[in-house]
């Protein structure tokens, strides 16, 4: 989440994380802010935000409403005891609790696993069995400090000394920090490692897509032209060059994005690459145009993959590529009149479609539909909603 916020605002991730931790330690409002961010920012690769799902969750909302009396009780007690900060503390905690309930109820499956496996035990026992003694010690210290603080507070009202209630408040806060501090720290650490693991998995998926689009496609091409040694050498050379530029210059293979600045240029690059490499004519029609962003680059990579597939496997001499840019989104159709295939019967291990097309589009928040039947040609329909263009 911090990573996402950092990406959106351009602030360093560490700074965002430190900000959250400070906010959390300060008043508990950080927890609330984090939870709200969780609600409204969609996960990478997911279409709906948690908020839209939460709003449809009647029972969750009823549960949250049930928390309201609790809040009222706390506020009344705080008022009776003249401890205003307790009241102000209750608000953010109540809100965080409410949002927490909604998150737990509406989390996507892998997030739920994480909440159940990691977060819940931490709330219950604050660590494993060997932490039990440390916990008892911490609670004891906290109780002592907290009771002293409360005592000073209560007596601070009867006396006129102004320093004592402040000291009391500090002691109560110290008690809270002693009890929850380690948990907060481990929570933050856990969140960070969880996000890192996710980033790593995503990186791996992207790499697999790149390898598929370049190396595996070239190997297939080499097998098909095994009786033409010069063609094999040419293909191997080109692949070698591409791999080198990836490994040593960091230019990912099988992509079109960096040679082009707009969608129409990118589509023209796809056309040229496929016509050169595969000797199949690509008929391109582009309606409208727009500058490329990361999502559109992913769309172009998926387009290239679909076009290469059509050139390699369909047997048709012509592939039609149609791209249309509208205000709401970009649509691309790649169509051939070739042999077609049964999309439900793609053998295990041949994952060009799922890896390079579907997963790629999903990561970019777009979608891919493939219409094909043996003998009936193939049409790949890619669409990507356009992000709000911020000036």
């Amino acid at each position: 989440m911090c990573g996402g916020l950092a990406e959106a605002t351009g602030v360093d991730v560490t700074l965002v994380r430190i900000g959250f931790v400070l906010l959390t330690l300060g008043s508990g409002i950080g927890v609330l802010a984090y939870a709200v961010a969780w609600l409204v920012i969609p996960l990478q690769g997911e279409a709906s935000t948690m908020l839209t799902r939460a709003l449809a969750d009647r029972r969750g909302i009823r549960l949250v409403l049930a928390l309201v009396p609790l809040l009222v009780v706390v506020e009344v007690v705080a008022l009776a005891l003249h401890v205003a900060y307790l009241g102000s503390f209750a608000w953010p905690l109540f809100l965080a609790g409410a949002v927490g309930i909604l998150i737990r109820r509406n989390a996507s499956s892998d997030e739920r696993v994480w909440i159940n496996d990691d977060l819940m035990p931490m709330l219950r026992s604050t660590g494993g069995r060997h932490h039990r003694r440390a916990l008892v010690l911490r609670v004891a210290v906290a109780a002592a400090v907290g009771v002293t603080g409360l005592y000073l507070l209560v007596h601070g009202h009867t006396s006129v000394a102004a320093l004592r209630p402040i000291g009391g408040a500090l002691l109560v806060i110290a008690a809270i920090v002693v009890v929850f501090g380690p948990w907060w720290i481990s929570l933050v650490r856990d969140l960070m490692s969880e996000r890192q693991a996710r980033a790593l998995a995503e990186e791996r998926a992207q790499m697999a897509a790149h390898v598929h689009d370049s190396v595996l496609q070239t190997l297939a091409l080499i097998q098909r032209s095994a009786d033409d040694p010069r063609q094999v050498v040419r293909l191997a050379r080109a692949q070698e060059r591409e791999l080198r530029s990836w490994l040593f210059e960091g230019r990912p293979p099988g992509t079109v994005g960096h040679e082009a600045a707009t969608l129409a240029e990118g589509v023209a690059v796809v056309q040229r690459q496929v016509e050169e490499d595969h000797g199949v004519a690509v008929q391109v029609v582009v309606v409208g145009d727009c500058p490329l962003d990361d999502g559109l680059r992913a769309l172009l990579d998926a387009t290239r993959e679909a076009t290469v597939n059509a050139a390699l496997w369909s047997g048709a001499p012509l592939v039609s590529l149609y791209a249309e840019v509208e205000a709401e989104g970009v649509t691309i159709f790649v169509r051939d009149r070739g042999c077609g295939f049964d999309p439900a019967a793609v053998p295990e291990g041949h994952q060009g479609i799922s890896l390079s097309i579907r997963a790629r589009m999903a990561r970019a928040h777009g979608s891919a539909h493939i219409r094909s039947a043996p003998g009936g040609g193939t049409e790949v329909h890619l669409s990507l909603p356009r992000r709000e263009l911020t000036p």
């Binding site: 004519a281 008929q283 029609v285 309606v287 149609y322 249309e324 169509r335």
Partner: protein
Amino acid sequence: MNAAARLRVFLVDDHAVFRSGVKAELGDVVDVVGEADEVGPAVEMINERRPDVVLLDVHLPGGGGQAVLSGVVPVHPEVKFLALSVSDAPEDVIAVIRAGARGYITKTISGEELLQAVTRVGSGDAVFSPRLAGFVLDAFAGRAGTGPPSAGLDPELDQLSPREREVLRLIARGYTYKEVARDLTISSKTVESHVSSVLRKLQLSTRHELTRWATDRRLV
């Protein structure tokens, strides 16, 4: 097809190789009643022989394909033109269509498709290549609000209906008329009438995207 119903076709193209190629491809089914490689002789012979369909190269020495159109259409409006080009530059395409051509195809078209296109134009329908369909969608895109205020726009002529848009989209995606009809579950005849209506709009609309292309070619 019997001899009486055979289409009379005239070829205008400055490449002799292309002309003989087309004759070889179409000669069995249509009557090629003449050919020309320049604007002047082409106008003269077409007006004299009055063919059903003229296959017209857009890039012709001595004024281009439009010069032939403006020499024939006022005199013999019944002669139908099918424009051919190697390039797909929008200004060329729009210009010949607005000058009166009933269709546009690229020279990479297969012999079978060329014959289909000629027959279709001969029977009074319009022929759009995928690229032309794309241009039209582009020119008629729903950006009426973004351009200069379109005070003089006639909504009847300057906007495509949703159905026409759908048909053009499918053509741009590489669908044949028959495939378009199947996809939209309408008859081929309906597809043809949609395309003809788009052609009419293309020729008569005052949309500035179209007039700009046309004036660039000193047509209007």
